[in-house]
């Protein structure tokens, strides 16, 4: 199986800070890569590097064999890569329907306004927001605002979907439906990458987990193996707490 999206040696330096260092990634159709790491580990920067919102200092990004290193975000979007933002970015002055219509309209092929609105309605239906089509995004709850963010990404009809903390701010009862939706996307054959803080959510859906720490890959592999890795616990909790946690586990 060949990867839909690949990154090789992706690095970004902001002045004296090495935000991401030599990151290798492969995203496959129908598989979900979970990316975890403590605050400031470079998770969001990694997504921004993949989508062209930040130009990498070095390294390559390839989608379907086409080199998209340093390409502008809209070219990456046209290549079939959609994303969500950690801090949701709805177009506040538009209705929920118009928000999604915009996404359905500029996929790289030409779509009429009419067709885009129909497609947007279907996408809203899929994420369970059809009833809110005429509302302003400012009237949505946190969970619905995340749904809208996801709907906008899906309306692009992507083959790769990069999710930046889509579960953040959700109540416990809202997490499972959201995970069910993500799981259904994977079964549809999307190549998924999910950056997350909620670790148990990642273990539930990820096929592979990658741990970032100080911009570098700490470890990667099966969810269960990675999460029991001492270095991962140490990265999250610091060495003293990691030792105590280990003793308690014993």
């Amino acid at each position: 199986m060949t990867a839909v999206m690949q990154a090789r040696g992706l690095s970004k330096r902001f002045g004296g800070l090495q935000a991401v260092k030599a990151l290798d990634l492969d995203l496959y159709a129908g598989r979900l890569l979970g990316v975890i790491g403590p605050n400031g580990a470079g998770k969001s920067t990694a997504i921004n590097l993949l989508t062209g919102h930040i130009r990498p200092t070095s390294g390559r990004v390839v989608v379907d064999g086409a080199d998209l290193t340093g390409a502008k975000p809209w070219r990456v979007a046209h290549a079939g890569v959609a994303r969500t933002f950690q801090i949701v970015k709805p177009f506040r002055g538009m209705t929920v329907l118009d928000n999604v219509t915009v996404a359905a309209m500029f996929t790289g092929q030409r779509h009429t306004v009419h067709a885009s609105r129909q497609a947007a309605m279907e996408t809203l239906d899929r994420v369970g927001l059809a009833g809110a089509a005429r509302l302003s995004p400012t009237e949505l709850s946190v969970a619905d605002a995340r749904r809208l963010e996801l709907a906008k990404a899906l309306a692009l009809r992507p083959r790769v979907l990069l999710l930046d903390e889509v579960l953040a701010g959700l109540r416990p009862g809202e997490i499972d439906p959201a995970l069910a939706l993500i799981d259904s996307l994977r079964r549809d054959g999307l190549a998924l990458m999910m950056v997350e803080h909620v670790i148990h959510a990642i273990t539930a859906v990820a096929d592979e987990v990658l741990v970032l720490h100080h911009g570098e890959v700490l470890t990667r592999g099966e969810p269960a193996t990675v999460l029991s890795d001492e270095r991962v616990i140490e990265a999250y909790l610091g060495s003293r707490f990691a030792k105590r946690a280990k003793e308690e586990l014993r």
């Binding site: 177009f91 500029f106 009429t112 369970g128 749904r147 499972d176 959201a178």
Partner: protein, 347 residues
Amino acid sequence: MSTVDAPAPPRTTTVVPAVAPWWRRSAPWVLLAAGTLGGIALQTQLYTAQERVVGTVFMFVALATAWNLIGGFTGYPWFGQVGFFGLGAYVTALCMYHLHLSFWLSLVLSGLVAGLFAAFVGVPLLRLKGHYFAIATLGVAEGLREVVLNLPRATGGGGGLTIPTLGPDAPTRWLGNDGFYILFLLIAAAVVAVALAVSRSRAGYALRAVNQDEEAAAAMGINTTRTKTLAFTLAATLTGVVGSAQAFRIQAIYPDPSFDTSITELAVIMVMIGGAGTVLGPILGAIAVQYMSEWLRENYTNAHTFILGALIIVTVVLLPQGFVNYLGDAVKTRRFSLLDNVRRYRL
């Protein structure tokens, strides 16, 4: 893991069809045609002096609507519109004075030159945001004025240039007050038609998306650079055409009035008071402000700018989002209080 999609939470709003019925979509076009015909009918009721005043109102409808494309829809504070107005005026004057081209050809050339110049300066300028874009475009306009002022051989410098409109020297005969009334009415109608078409097209969605959040718009596949540059070029082209027509109307043109910053400022005020990002707003704003300004000038000559300034202050404090947007929100939420409105942006 469950295999069903997330269930939709219960909603109070009903699901509406994605696309409005045809009669609602064509209503603005019918209104525009009716307005244009009404303008022609109005002409029969006006004296010559009134004709000139109303013609100027049409000119500002066109300018405000053109400004709205980049300032309202796209949200870029364009404080250099008059630069393209003056550019259009001088291209027409130069073409007619030096090259003896017909006015109609000069009109087209003025639009093209203004548009090309906008496309050229737009790429670096549109990388700037907010106040920085405002100042940079203001600088371009002031710079153009200085260039025109300091090229006396071509432009006549501060002494101005008089377009020949009579006799054998005239490439096109002056159109007369009636003719210019119709010309400005048609230009205003055409500019509004362009704005209406843009507002409802893919480009309109792209512009509004760029206005709201440029980063998100780019992630949605919108080529933000191209979108902004196109809007800027279109707005400048239309402005250049208006400047061209105005130059022919007043015949004798000088650098200072052609590049008068208060033309830009009036257009901005008209759009903001009427409602930025709407098609109707700039039209209403232009009519209200220009009519008020003329009336004050006639009746309170000395305190004219004082009263106009005070009115602008009061309107901006009470209706910061503009009349049309206020009305839209108020009808939707059934809250009409202007005091509530003041609370929106108060510290």
